[in-house]
């Protein structure tokens, strides 16, 4: 047996408890989503018949398609915006010494401490005052604001691990600071950008309280709100539909992981080059 195979077996054994626990809610979700309306209340693990039609029925009745589109829009846009404003800030923090540098870092940390639910009344007054309720773009701006701190932090600690000599070498060769940034520095920072982008995307994808407060019409609902409204306070809950909806809602992010995972590994190995 090769060393790698042995190692693989050992690692998988070590990981198995956590994997089982992680998969448990997914199993519950998947199985429940395939049960009939009468069977979903029985906690058996093997449904007597598989109700695949739950998915198309749920899709038709629950309005999940526009919610999916809204969520993608908001998450993608706020990710882009966050990365866009965070890179310069992180670069400044890691490459310049300036008065107020520590103050800015502390400000970012403090801004992280206020969670949306704590601020929601104040936030809502701000948005309502601007007459921008029920706008997805407002969500984009708010999500960006709440994610900046983390992104800047993350990028900055990564930027600091990129050796200065690389940039300095480029300057020696006569490249401008701006050009160096684009062609030398940022390519090295790709893995960190991917990681922070994932964080932001997921935070936006899953955010609940702000979306619930700001959005008004069914047409602008994002996924968490849409799925939650299938459960919250109704006189009866169609659990098989809820589980099907939750399943569908989790697929895009799972696919994103699967796709970025490869990218991540490749990016990470580039980043590790001295």
């Amino acid at each position: 047996m090769s060393a790698k195979l042995k190692r693989s077996i050992l690692f998988w054994i070590l990981l198995s408890p956590i994997v089982v626990v992680i998969l448990f809610p997914y199993a519950v979700m998947t199985i429940s989503s395939l049960k009939s309306a009468t069977e979903v209340l029985t906690p058996n693990w093997w449904p007597s018949e598989l109700h695949w039609q739950n998915f198309p029925e749920m899709w038709r009745t629950s309005g999940i398609a526009p919610a999916l589109a809204n969520s993608l829009y908001v998450s993608a846009l706020s990710t882009a915006l966050t990365i866009l404003v965070s890179i310069p800030a992180a670069y400044a923090l890691s490459r310049y010494q300036f008065a107020g540098r520590d103050a800015f870092r502390q400000f970012l940390l403090v801004s992280q401490m206020l969670s949306p639910i704590v601020l929601v009344i104040g936030l809502f007054r701000l948005v309502a005052g601007a007459g921008m309720i029920d706008s997805l773009n407002v969500l984009v701006v708010i999500y960006t604001a709440f994610n900046i701190a983390f992104c800047v932090w993350m990028l900055q600690s990564y930027f600091s691990t990129i050796p200065r000599d690389l940039e300095e070498a480029a300057w020696m060769e006569g490249a401008s600071r701006w050009r160096t940034l684009i062609s030398v520095f940022l390519p090295l920072a790709v893995p960190a950008m991917v990681v922070t982008a994932i964080f932001t995307f997921i935070n936006a994808w899953n955010e609940f309280v702000i979306a619930l407060t700001m959005l008004r019409t069914e047409g602008s609902y994002t996924l968490p709100i849409r799925v939650f409204s299938l459960v919250a306070g109704r006189y009866t809950v169609d659990w098989h539909y809820v589980m099907a909806a939750a399943f569908v809602a989790s697929v895009p992010v799972a696919v994103l992981f699967a796709w970025l995972q490869r990218y991540l590994v490749r990016g990470l190995s580039i980043g590790a080059v001295k």
Partner: protein, 409 residues
């Protein structure tokens, strides 16, 4: 008519339609609390029908899950961004009236309009002699019982009194297995109400002479009674983890023999557990024959700051026609609030609904007091403590009553 003329006519018509819509279109925003998956579609359809008849008004339906309704209304109102119309629990109405948030409707209400309603359901929305809301949904509570389980345990009729009920529950326990006589709710919304059912039967009141009735003998007896059900294994185990929906689910599965709930359970059973044989009976009476059921209405209110009161009223007028009400109540499984609607054979000949309507003379509606939710929370907490055996019934209830009296001040 030539084609050319037709086109001209169409163009002219659309021009007129366009210009009126550009000039006079008003949008009425309506916050709708979601009772079931049918709620949103029903209101969307009603809005379309209304818009067809009133092309100058646009209705914007905003559906909110019940659990978040209060939060949304609070944030909306605090920022002045609330809709024109909203559904609220009638039990909250006094708080809204006191703060001048909702507008009285009396200027619009004609005697004809008023005559549409069954008075029992309209009166909870009347405060200081003014109508502040219209009953959009109404229900009462009764006891559903599983006929098969009752037959197996050798019981012929649903229990008339709590004493009978206990004997019945003991018989059901003897059947063995995981079947329990009393489906007792002990979690989340209406945990307090589930306790009031027994308290009313024992002759108690939620509020009497401006004081909490939680420290009355009736309340203490009820707490002890319920606790004895729990201790003797006559309820499902772990009552404090079962919300109203959870207990209803146990009933649909035949795991509990009884549950006290609203008429909408019948609709659910029809689709989710069509083979279940059940009956509906009044909530058992107390030792001195006292009976009580909980009457609940939700109101649709018009906000004082609405700029489209006229148009909003028109929409209200529309959804309270017999036709619209019948559609809504069939979708949701509520009791008819409209006198004409009640004569519809769907309601009039429905055996389950008949039981509910027959209970209405004994129905208690939430008392007109401020801070209903505050009191509900205090009460639920106290009751949960008793169910869990973490507090002596008498002492815990007295403490809760003192707290409630603070709120009532």
């Amino acid at each position: 008519m030539t084609i050319r003329q037709k086109i001209c006519l169409l163009a002219g018509a659309s021009l007129i339609a366009f210009s009126t819509s550009a000039l006079a279109e008003t949008t009425v925003r309506v916050t709708i609390a979601e009772y079931s998956k049918g709620t949103g579609p029903y209101f969307e359809e009603a809005a379309k029908a209304f818009e067809a008849a009133n092309p100058d008004t646009k209705i914007q339906i905003e559906v909110v899950p019940w659990d978040n309704l209060q939060q949304k209304l609070t944030t909306d109102i605090s920022a002045g961004a609330n809709a024109d119309l909203s559904i609220i629990g009638t039990r909250w109405l006094l708080d809204y009236v006191k703060e001048g948030i909702v507008a009285p409707l009396d200027d619009h209400i004609t005697p004809d309009f008023k005559a549409r309603f069954i008075d029992t359901f309209l009166s909870p929305s009347v405060m200081n002699g003014k109508v502040y809301g219209l009953p959009i949904a109404a229900s009462a509570r009764a006891m559903y019982y599983n006929k098969d389980i009752f037959a197996k345990a050798g019981i012929d009729t649903p229990p008339a009194t709590w004493a009978d009920f206990k004997t019945d529950a003991e018989k059901i326990k003897k059947l063995g297995g995981e079947t329990y006589g009393f489906g007792l709710q002990g979690k989340e919304i209406e945990t307090d109400v589930y306790f009031y059912y027994g308290m009313w039967s024992n002759g108690g009141e939620i509020v009497k002479d401006g004081k909490s009735g939680l420290d009355s003998q009736a309340a203490i007896d009820t707490a002890k009674l319920y606790k004895s059900f729990i201790d003797e294994g006559l309820t499902q185990p772990g009552v404090t983890s079962y919300s109203r929906e959870d207990v209803q689910n146990l009933f649909k599965q035949g795991k509990v023999a009884t549950v006290i709930t609203a008429p909408f359970l019948s609709n659910q059973i029809k689709t989710e557990a069509p083979n279940l044989k059940y009956g509906v009976a009044p909530i058992p009476a107390g030792p001195s024959g006292d009976k009580g059921t909980y009457g609940v209405t939700d109101s649709i209110v018009l906000f004082e700051n609405s700029k489209n009161k006229e148009a909003a009223w028109k929409f209200l007028d529309f959804i309270f026609t017999k036709e619209q009400r019948t559609k809504f109540d069939k979708v949701e499984g509520f009791l008819p609030v409209n006198a004409e609607e009640a004569k519809d054979p769907y309601f009039a000949d429905n055996a389950d609904l008949k039981v509910f309507t027959s209970l209405l003379p004994n129905a208690r509606f939430a008392p007109v007091i401020p801070g209903w939710e505050d009191i509900a929370q205090t009460t639920s907490n106290a009751i949960q403590k008793i169910y869990l055996g973490q507090g002596d019934p008498e002492a815990t209830l007295k403490e809760a009553a003192a707290k409630v009296n603070e709120t009532l001040k």
